[in-house]
Structures are given as C-alpha cells and as structure tokens.
C-alpha cells in the first residue's frame, strides 16, 4: 500500500522521529513522508513510533491508499526531494 505520513511532535523529539521514518519512507518535506510500504512494515513503524512519542502532546497521522495510482500529487513551488528509484 501507499502511505503519506505526517507528524507533529515536540521539538526535542523531531530528530528521533525523522530518523525513524527515514528508514521506512521517503522524506518529501519537513515532517512529511510518503512511500510504498507493506502492512507489516507499517505496523512495525507505528509500533516504534508509539514508543517514541508522548500521546498527550504529539501526533502522527497516516493516510493510506491502496496504490500510488489512486493518488494525484501536485507540487507547487520547489520539489524538496523526489521519491523515485533512480539516483
């Protein structure tokens, strides 16, 4: 499945969150990630994120879609980072 993940965590935890998400998804903007991921890997990511955040103040929102093709993506202004597999 294809997901978009955004987080809003307290400043001292942002770096940890960033590092964790980078292992699973493509960074596209500050605190925004997207990419293809399996169900199991997503659960793994959520589990790890849960241990990191403070449920009182932080939040993590995940938008899921069955496939990338059901997603229209527009970029206005500068594309900060692409998600393709050619480097």
């Amino acid at each position: 499945m294809y997901v978009i993940l955004v987080y809003d965590v307290e400043q001292k935890r942002t770096a940890k969150m960033l590092k964790l998400c980078r292992r699973y998804l493509h960074w596209i903007q500050n605190s925004v990630f997207e990419g293809e991921i399996t169900e199991a890997k997503l659960q793994e990511l959520i589990h790890r994120a849960r241990r990191l955040i403070d449920p009182e103040t932080d939040s993590l929102i995940i938008f899921t879609s069955r496939h990338e093709r059901w997603l229209d993506k527009q970029i206005i202004g500068k594309e900060k980072s692409s998600t393709d597999n050619f480097l």
Binding site: R23, H26, E36, I37, E44, N85, F86, L87
Partner: protein, 334 residues
C-alpha cells in the same frame, strides 16, 4: 513491495541512522543534496555510476540482506555483493549436486530448460507472424532443431543445438523491429543497437535470476545446462534462458516499435555501441514496469508478477532435485 534502486550518478553511499544516505558528487567534486533511501523498502541496488562506500555500509547491507550489483563504465555486469547465505539447506545442496553428477538426470533437466526457452521464443515469433512479419521459415527451423534435442547424447550437443535455436531466433529480430538491423549476434562489445539492447537486457535478467536464487535454498554455482564454471553463478544463466524471451526480448520489441528508444539513444564508438545514460534509464524504467506486471497464475489461482515467476521457477527446481515433483519449465501462454 520492496523496490530496486538504480544509482546512475557518481556519489557516496553511507550508513546513517540505520538507513542509507546517498550524496551525489558532480564532476567538480562538489556534493549535491543528500537523499535518504528507506532501507526497509530496498530490494537491491544496481550501481552504474562510480560509488564511494565503506565496509560499515556493506556490513549493514549484509545484515539487511540487500544484494548490490555492479556495472562498469560500458554497463557490463562486473559482479555482485551478496550477503551471507541465509537460507542454508544441506539437503537441497546435496540433491542439487547429485542431479548434476548423474549424466542422465542432468541431461533431462537441461533439455527441460531448453524446452521452456524454445517455447517462449516461438511464442514471441508467432505473435509477430500474426502481425504480418515473414517468420514462418525460422519458426519451422526452430521447431526442427527442438525436435533434434530428443536424441542429443550429451550436454555439449544440447548446448550446440540451443545455440543454433537462439541464433535463428535472433535473426528474426530485424523483421520484428523497424529501423534497426541485426546482422549477427556480437558481444564484448556489441557492435550495433540491437546487440547492445540484447546484452543490456540479458544482463538485467541474469541479475534478476541471481537475486531470486539467493532468496531460495539453491546454490547458484551448480547449474545443469551451462557448465558450472569458475567465477560465475551459472545457475542464474540456466534460469535466465527461460525468461529472456518473455522479459528481455519483449521489452526490446515494445520499446523500439513504440519509438521510445531511437537511433539517437545510442553512441557508436570505435569499438562497439553503447547506450547513452538517459537511454539506459529509460530501458530500466520499462524493465521495472514489466517485472511488476501481474498475470493470473493458472495453478496457484492468484495474481503473480513476472518477477515472482522466476522465484516460482526456483521452487520448481528444488522440488525436482528433491524428487518431489518433476520440473516442468515455465511456458508463456499469452
């Protein structure tokens, strides 16, 4: 779905925060913007540009089970970094070796592999006969050659016939694609556009088979059709025979006939012909798309991707050497 990553630009790949960081470096040695690759979703890496890396990175890749394939400046396959074997099964290995050592068993299996390859080649040709290409003669020739494998006394004869089949087949390419001449199969270096594409595609197919074998208990160095030589994973060559017509050749036909690749995408030099970097990228994009194409599998009764068909083929080989079920080669039915 895990993805393959293709590194065309020179740069430095390193381990950082338990994931991979790629920093491109341009001709003046200046560093570009870093890209982080999500390590959990990497299937394998293809390295075409020059890459800086250290052992910490390879330790990490090994831990994660990620295979890295290397290619030189002319896009020739030079080798692979394979993590430690993680699916070890002495039983399969012994069975595989036993099948190889028994002349009869080996010959039978090798013939099966050629059967698959021939069938898939004929499938391609017949499709183009339907579209008006004058290929009836070569088809009859190939069928006759295939018949003669039944009486082949040893592997060398079999390989010889296989070579003839493939030569006849490749000579048909001119009639299938417009604008390009085939002349003859030339390698190291390929001398014209078609040969370049065949070589490039076959190489991708070979690495694909190698990766699928890596994820099974088979030993990639013990092969049946090809002679298990030194310095190469010959079982991957055996498997590639069956899949080249379906994966490589069809990609070539569609890319040339739709004019996605044109004469300007090639660079003919003093010695041989190479793909321009942008063209190699185009080819690889189409190749990836093809691998992800799914078909309804007849016996499994579910959709499988072309890529997964190769893995299924490995499982069939395992069953064959363990004498659970006779190997029937994959035959395209569409």
């Amino acid at each position: 779905m895990k993805k393959s990553y293709y590194l065309f630009n020179p740069g430095r790949l390193s381990r950082q925060n338990n994931t991979l960081k790629f920093v491109p470096i341009d001709e003046e040695g200046k560093e570009g913007q870093a890209r982080y690759l999500p390590v959990e979703s990497i299937k394998e890496l293809y390295v075409f540009g020059s890459l800086d890396a250290n052992s910490a990175l390879y330790n990490f890749l090994g831990q994660q089970g990620i295979v890295v394939h290397f290619f030189n400046y002319y896009e020739y396959y030079t080798g692979s970094f394979m993590p430690r074997d993680y699916l070890l099964a002495g039983k399969v290995q012994i069975a595989q070796t036993k099948t190889y050592l028994s002349a009869n068993k080996r010959l039978a299996l090798a013939r099966r592999l050629i059967e698959g390859a021939t069938h898939n080649m004929l499938k391609n040709l017949r499709y183009y006969v339907g579209r008006g290409a004058p290929l009836q003669n070569p088809i009859t020739q190939i069928e006759a050659l295939w018949q003669s494998t039944a009486t082949a006394p040893d592997i060398e004869t079999l390989m010889g016939i296989e070579g003839n089949i493939r030569q006849t087949y490749y000579e048909c390419f001119e009639h299938i694609v417009s604008d390009f001449a085939f002349e003859k199969r030339s390698k190291r270096p390929p001398e014209n556009e078609l040969n370049t594409l065949i070589s490039f595609g076959n190489m991708l197919c070979y690495t694909l088979c190698l990766r699928q074998i890596f994820h099974t208990q088979l030993n990639p160095t013990i092969s049946f059709l090809h002679e298990p030589g030194m310095r190469r994973y010959s079982l991957a060559l055996d498997l590639a025979e069956v899949f080249k017509p379906l994966l490589v050749d069809r990609t070539i036909f569609s890319m040339l006939n739709k004019k996605i690749l044109q004469a300007s995408d090639f660079r003919t030099e003093l010695r041989g012909c190479t793909l321009r970097p942008a063209a190699a990228k185009k080819f690889v994009t189409h190749w990836e798309e093809r691998l992800q194409t799914t078909i309804q599998h007849r016996t499994l009764k579910r959709k499988v991707s072309y890529e997964h068909l190769v893995r299924l083929e490995c499982y069939k080989l395992i069953k064959h050497v363990l004498e659970i079920q006779d190997y029937k080669p994959f035959k395209a039915w569409w």
